[in-house]
Amino acid sequence: MSVVTVQLGQCGNQIGHEVFSALCSDIRGTHGLCSKKENESYQDSCKERFFCEEESGVPVARAVLVDMEPKVISQTLSMAARSGHWKYSSHSHFCQKQGSGNNWANGYSVHGPRHKEAIMDLVQKEAEKCDRLGGFFTIMSMAGGTGSGLGAFVTQCLRDAFPTSFILNHVVWPYGTGEVIVQNYNSVLTLSHLYHSSDALLVHENDVIHKICAQLMNIKQISFRDVNQVIAHQLGSVFQPTHTAGGGSGYSRNPLGDLMEALVPHPEFRMLGLRNIPQMPESSLPYSTFSWPGLIKHLRQMLIANAQMEEGIDWQVRPPHPGSSIPSTNNALHFNTSIANLVILRGKDVHSVDLGSFQDPSLYTSWLNPQDAFNAWKTPRAFNKYEKCAALVSNSQFLLKPLDSIVGKAWNMFASKAYLHQYTKFGIQEEDFLDCFTTLEQVISSYTNL
């Protein structure tokens, strides 16, 4: 099954380009560390999912590029074409001239309806190119105006036009100390709207990835490109082909469906966080060796202690003892309760990995059997030159604090009525804001009371 990617706004298009770049470079690599047959199967599966074959033989990304100003799309298209290894279709983009002005209301209420037909037309064409449509993957930031506002509108349109397809929104959360002054308003409006139309939100936070670039990747002058490449690597480690347990011998054909089934048992809980291990500069890879027990141990503690990366993990945090009525206060405060987790393992000796520690019932809420709350996907085919790598996609309290922080700041600004005139002039009223705040306070409450 194929996934159609919709790249929205500057961030969405910049990241989308890095994702397809990473996927393509991975399948072209000779570091598969597996049998030729396995490798070919992996390549075919990846191509089916993300690329279309053209007569020229150059894979064409299954993507629709949308932006309200022309510069980024223009750059994205030409960078892809210059690589010589893959490209975007020349007819799969839509752009306008004047941008959305970081105004969610402009993106949602003005650009959305105005350009709905043209955009959905492109989506329809991409969907028709797929033998079997496995769903939609949208990439956007929630801080600006296009990715956020138009992105929310487009997601709604996707839901209306494709009621039975899976929709996964990849949402980038901005730096806490601002890229955009009204980013918290735009975020609140985006998240609450997406919550009503998409199946799940897969989140990356700029602050977290920035830390990874600084501390793990040792990059001195970190650019957005660096950040986007780490994000692309993490997404690739989730979405490249894998074998799901009990899925037969071939690669899984329904990645989005499998993801939803594994991680979203209840519609109230759709925020997914992502962690990846190991993460290091490419130049260090030949000098590093890892053991699966070590990687799994770290990954599990990253989950429990809500660590952002494999350095600086708080090893003191422990899950509460099952059956104890008074949880140890220290641990209970910092312990990250999960609803469901998905671990994806790639590379050497994956078959031998013991994941029992992730099935510990004390990690989870009580609604699901631990066997159902935890899933693992594997492939012996190594990813992006990492001999071994493990990704964790988690529906847990990972994003509770950052979400609460964003809502708090937005509320603080809302109480002073600052900037509201910028939204009301495009049709988003104070009541609309209140509805969005209510939705998100509900989400916060739900995740808090796990």
């Binding site: 105006g145 806490g176 601002g178 700041k409 603080n412 600052a418 910028q422």
Partner: protein, 475 residues
């Protein structure tokens, strides 16, 4: 691409405008090596096929034939505009973009606004519509003028009102040169306050500039160069005051240096809309992020660096110095000290080889010494444009919505009241058709209200005493 359309009104406006077009051409020439007409150029220039004469069709792609500025030049005296038409920019404009008269406005806002406004209304609207027709997409209007005279101030604000009526959805940015205390036009306070009322009500964003500040910056550069501390290592074309290929020295045309600073301000302001970068910043984004309440739309600007040394290798310490300078008193384009007043919002537009980590490091470093309003503690709007200005490896434009504009407005009010109390020169205004005493009282009232809004913000630090409690959800 989206077009920004400048209107130069009055003597000052046109002198700045002239510098602006000159520097814009130079900037694009430095980037555009192949001579192809591209999206970046199209935001300021049309490409006209002049082989069959001046009325040739626009060429949208391909080689540059003849670049024509998208602009309107308006002056009620001929001197400055004529000079432009005889100078190196003569081919960049055609007669359809000019509106001139001969006798000037006599430093009288009412003559500019009421008499010439009325007289030239249709002419302006027609030329405006024609110019707009040539634009695929009109993003914003720029008005460049001075506040103290008659044409720039009176007719300039008339044009502002016209723009709001004819194109209400297009943003209106105004770059206004405010008169200094020693201004030799006695009635400059009247003209400025009358114009302020229009700016309060009709402009989306105003960038106030004070000649004193420009003058001080020019002097500072002079001193640095002449002190011999830098000597020949300063890149001449990197001076924020430099003219493109002009053989006239700074002494011969002192105002050129000052006008170049303002021209550079406008170039930097629009750079991220014209050129690519990892975090684009459009003009409508500036308005969106820096104007939390409609009337509080006065933005204090600062440009750094003022010059570059020939040494291309820039250690990050020097990069950080650029950020520090942007917040220092002597880099502001008005007499103001943002560090000791209250920030409502701040924008940083960086050009050149600067990455997000450089931005973040400097924001973290400078934040603690700045006072932000309680509902916008992390209120930073940032942009990264890959293309630096000519002669630089990087540059920074800071725009602050800060209560430090207040003293400028208070002084203006005081100077106005000094004259108004004695009714000095009032008859020159009241004898103009359409002018009444109420025009004055309404104008000073508007200014007083604005000052009061800033006072309230300063007093309360912009926040409710108690943190607003969040919505409670029934579990």
């Amino acid at each position: 691409s989206a077009v920004s359309l400048p209107f130069a009104v009055g003597q000052c406006g046109n002198q700045v405008g002239c510098r602006f077009w000159d520097l814009a051409l130079r900037e694009h020439a430095a980037v555009n090596k192949k001579g192809m007409y591209d999206e970046a150029l199209s935001s300021f220039f049309r490409n006209v096929d002049t082989r069959s004469g001046d009325n040739g069709p626009d060429i949208y792609k391909g080689k540059i034939c003849s670049l024509k500025a998208r602009a309107l030049l308006i002056d009620m005296e001929e001197g400055v505009v004529n000079e432009i038409l005889q100078g190196p920019l003569r081919d960049v404009f055609d007669s359809k973009q000019l509106i001139t008269d001969v006798s000037g406005s006599g430093n009288n806002w009412a003559v500019g606004h009421k008499i010439y406004g009325c007289q030239y209304r249709e002419n302006i609207v027609e030329k405006l519509r024609k110019t707009a027709e040539h634009c695929d997409c009109l993003q914003c209007f720029f008005i460049i003028h001075s506040m103290g005279g008659g044409t720039g101030s009176g007719l300039g604000t008339f044009v502002l009102n016209l723009l709001e009526e004819e194109f209400p959805e297009v943003y209106r940015f105004v770059t206004s040169v405010y008169p200094s205390g020693e201004d030799d036009v006695i009635t400059s306070p009247y003209n400025s306050v009358l114009a302020m009322k229009e700016l309060n009500e009709r402009a989306d964003c105003v960038l106030p500039i004070e000649n004193e500040s420009l003058f001080e910056i020019v002097n500072k550069i002079h001193q640095m160069i002449n002190s011999g501390k830098l000597g020949s290592t300063v890149k001449q074309n990197s001076l924020v005051t430099s003219s493109a290929g002009s053989t006239k020295t700074l002494q011969a045309k002192p105002f050129d240096a000052m006008n170049n600073i303002v021209a550079n301000l406008l170039l930097n302001l629009t750079s991220s809309a014209r050129f690519e970068g990892s975090l684009n910043m459009d003009l409508n984004e500036i308005s969106m992020n820096l104007v939390p309440f409609p009337r509080l739309h006065y933005l204090v600007s600062s440009l750094t660096p003022l010059y570059t040394l020939a040494d291309v290798n820039v250690p990050s310490r020097r990069l950080d110095q650029m950020f520090s300078d942007a917040f220092s008193r002597d880099h502001q384009l008005i007499q103001a000290d943002p560090k000791h007043s209250l920030y409502l919002a701040c924008a940083l537009l960086v050009r050149g080889n600067v990455q997000v980590s450089d931005l973040r490091r400097n924001i973290e470093r400078l934040k603690p010494s700045l006072h932000f309003v309680s509902w916008n503690q992390e209120g930073w709007k940032t942009g990264l444009c890959s293309v630096p200005p000519v002669g630089h490896s990087h540059s920074l434009l800071a725009l602050a919505n800060n209560t430090c504009v207040k003293p400028t407005f208070i002084e203006l009010k005081d100077r106005f009241m000094k004259l108004y109390k004695k009714k000095a020169h009032l008859h020159h205004y009241l004898q103009i058709d359409g002018m009444e005493q109420s025009c004055f009282s309404e104008a000073i009232s508007s200014l007083s209200d604005l000052i009061e809004e800033y006072n309230e913000l300063d007093a309360s630090k912009g926040g409710p005493r108690i943190d607003p409690s969040r919505l409670k959800i029934a579990v």
